[in-house]
């Protein structure tokens, strides 16, 4: 799960990491008032930042430097009345309802610090670089020697000597070493306390007047651990998510919208990915990833169908079920009843294998006179070829 920057700033503050002052606003008037407040305190400029989950804000014009009240009003009005479209959002973009107005900072130097789970090491790893502000993956690829990595002890976390060592490696001197080590230690505490999968301060800056400031922060949380953190769960902003994604999540389906026109309904994540792959292999384009779970239920299958058919891009549907615990005949009955109640407007190719597949195939064959859009497939290749041909 993701959260907004203003929420991430709050979490940093809660864990003892200083963030510069900023105002969270929801209208152009509030933005102007915030600007006025900072200007009165002697600020020569402010930054208005749209609060969205997706990245690419700067290039999309949703982070703006403003030097007058009028500029603050214009920037806020633009951001609150337009959807932000960036490489990360898809063409439909995301809505903006919250802005952050922050006093401008004269930056002397930028750093990157983050903590992420390292699956190869089976523990979290602290990543730090004196090349902050840039894409850290790019720095890591081009200049691996400029990115420092320190694995965290699985039960003790970040040890004081490690934090100090990283501060020295980043080139800090004097009293600042202890200050930076303190930020790293608190960041690690925040990582564990929230069951995060990623925390980042990017950039951590030293200002021209020599202050250490966490300028932007990012948290991603482990969805599996959200049951421990109702306060984090409450931060979820559904407006930032695809509406069908949200609906699928409520039905305990794992769904991700993609750009193609072949809807997929599959049981099991691995098989669902493999089904997308085989569609592509035969020249088609999947419209989604949809895993109804290894033990798919008739209700789950019906809701899945309804989600797929509410996507206007979908010109055909491939159902691929390998029945284990889930019995194929029950799935076939659910498909047929969904078809009768919802009405299949597009071709539906059905491939059922595994437990009770013989009975299921007969049910599907019998249903064809009522539901002419249903087309049985003999195996996975046959299914992929049939659906690709059907949407051509």
């Amino acid at each position: 799960m993701k959260i907004h920057e203003y929420q991430a700033r709050q979490l940093l503050t809660d864990h003892g990491i200083a963030v510069p002052p900023a105002e969270v606003v929801r209208s152009a008037d509030e933005a102007v008032a915030a600007y006025r407040k900072f200007a009165a305190a002697g600020q020569s400029f402010c930054v208005v930042k749209a609060q969205v989950y997706a990245g690419g804000r700067g290039k999309a014009g949703f982070v703006k430097l403003v030097k007058t009240e009028a500029e603050a009003r214009d920037a806020a009005t633009f951001m609150l009345t337009n959807r932000m479209v960036s490489i990360q959002t898809g063409p439909e973009g995301v809505p903006v309802s919250v802005l952050l107005v922050a006093p401008g900072v004269d930056i002397a130097k930028e750093y990157y610090v983050g903590i992420v789970l390292d699956r190869g090491r089976n523990t979290a790893v602290l990543i730090a670089s004196a090349e902050g502000g840039m894409d850290i993956e790019e720095v890591a690829a081009k200049h691996p020697e400029k990115v420092f990595k320190e694995p965290l002890h699985p039960t003790l976390g970040l040890l004081p000597y490690q934090a100090t060592e990283i501060a020295f490696k980043l080139g800090f001197e004097g009293k600042r070493v202890r200050e930076v080590a303190g930020v790293l230690t608190n960041l690690a505490k925040a990582f564990y306390a929230t069951d995060a999968s990623l925390v980042e301060i990017n950039p951590l800056v030293v200002t021209k007047d020599d202050r250490l400031i966490a300028l932007d922060a990012k948290f991603n949380f482990d969805d599996n651990a959200l049951f421990k953190h109702p306060e984090l769960e409450a931060m979820r902003d559904e407006s930032q998510l695809n509406a069908l994604d949200v609906r699928a999540e409520k039905a305990k389906l794992s769904y991700i919208a993609l750009d193609g026109n072949i809807g997929c309904l599959v049981n099991g994540a691995g098989l669902a990915m493999a089904t997308m792959d085989i569609i592509k292999f035969h020249g088609g384009d999947p419209a989604n990833f949809l895993d109804v779970g290894g033990g798919v239920t008739p209700e789950g299958a019906r809701e899945a169908f309804s989600i797929l058919m509410s996507d206007p891009k979908v010109k055909g549907i491939l159902v691929n079920i390998f029945g284990g615990i889930a019995k194929c005949d029950l799935i076939a009955e659910a498909l047929i009843s969904a078809g009768k109640s919802l009405g299949f407007k597009v071709p539906v190719v059905v491939r059922l294998e595994g437990t009770n597949s013989e009975i299921a195939r007969k049910l599907i064959a019998d249903a064809q006179k009522d539901l002419p859009q249903i087309r049985p497939a003999n195996d996975l290749t046959d299914a992929a070829e049939k659906i690709v041909a059907a949407v051509k």
Binding site: T155, G270, L271, A274, D277, I278, I279, G294, L380, A384
Partner: protein, 307 residues
Amino acid sequence: MSILVDSSTKVICQGITGAVGAFHTKGCLEYGTKMVGGVTPGKGGQKDAHGLPIFNTVEQAVRATGCEASMIFVPPPFAADAIMEAAAAGVRVVCCITEGVPVLDMVKAKAFLRDYPATTLIGPNCPGIITPGEGPGSSNPGCKIGIMPGYIHTPASHAKSGKKVGIISRSGTLTYEAVWQCSSRGIGQTTCVGIGGDPVKGLNFTECVKMLADDPQTDGIILIGEIGGSDEVAAGRFIQQNVKKPVTAFIAGRTAPPGRRMGHAGAIISGGEDTADAKLSALRVCGLHVAETPATIGQTMARALGL
């Protein structure tokens, strides 16, 4: 022969009185697995629907039954603790089926397991492990620990082609797909291991490949991976240097968009080296027989075995 479990392995179920635990305990018993009891704290002394004794703790279950393996179905908040309890009680094979275990819980459990080198963890978030057999009442009933449909498997003794393979996979139903394709071609299975789809887990591909490579009855190995992580490529390098048996690989997720979690917590592409295509080309270089589509896993294995 087989790896990790066989017809004589005594198995308990942690979480035996839960709906899912009870359902799959029945499934395993019906397959032929030597289920000898279960654990549910507070229900010690009772018996389950099949007359299996229930214990309060794993330690008591081990002492009373001599079980060597455990199948875990306890809910996600308690799963990591159940794994550690089983290891501390001396259980040799701990198979955690539970899906949705917090990753940082698993980080701690993995660290704990370092003190118990005799314990092998499989999972979490996996279908389990099966050494196919000829069913209850036979001299070789087999051992199914987990949620996979038993009947799709072919015991090594019934392999019409005379060839037997071991299968290692991160996914559930995709494994069944591969098993079914093998069984349909008369290729038997020595042991199939679902290692699970989570980023921090027990047994990995390389450890599993080592065991199957050393098993004299296993003629070939099928490795079914996914996007995300570097486990498959590490196994590929190990195979290139150490394994003479033919190995077939399939990697799911060639069409997955970067940065999105695809159902399995582990299936997310982060950098450039964990895409399906990057893994597949690395595995080709290592000499593995790569299946182009999920429909040709069995066919690719058969060809590599000279069938």
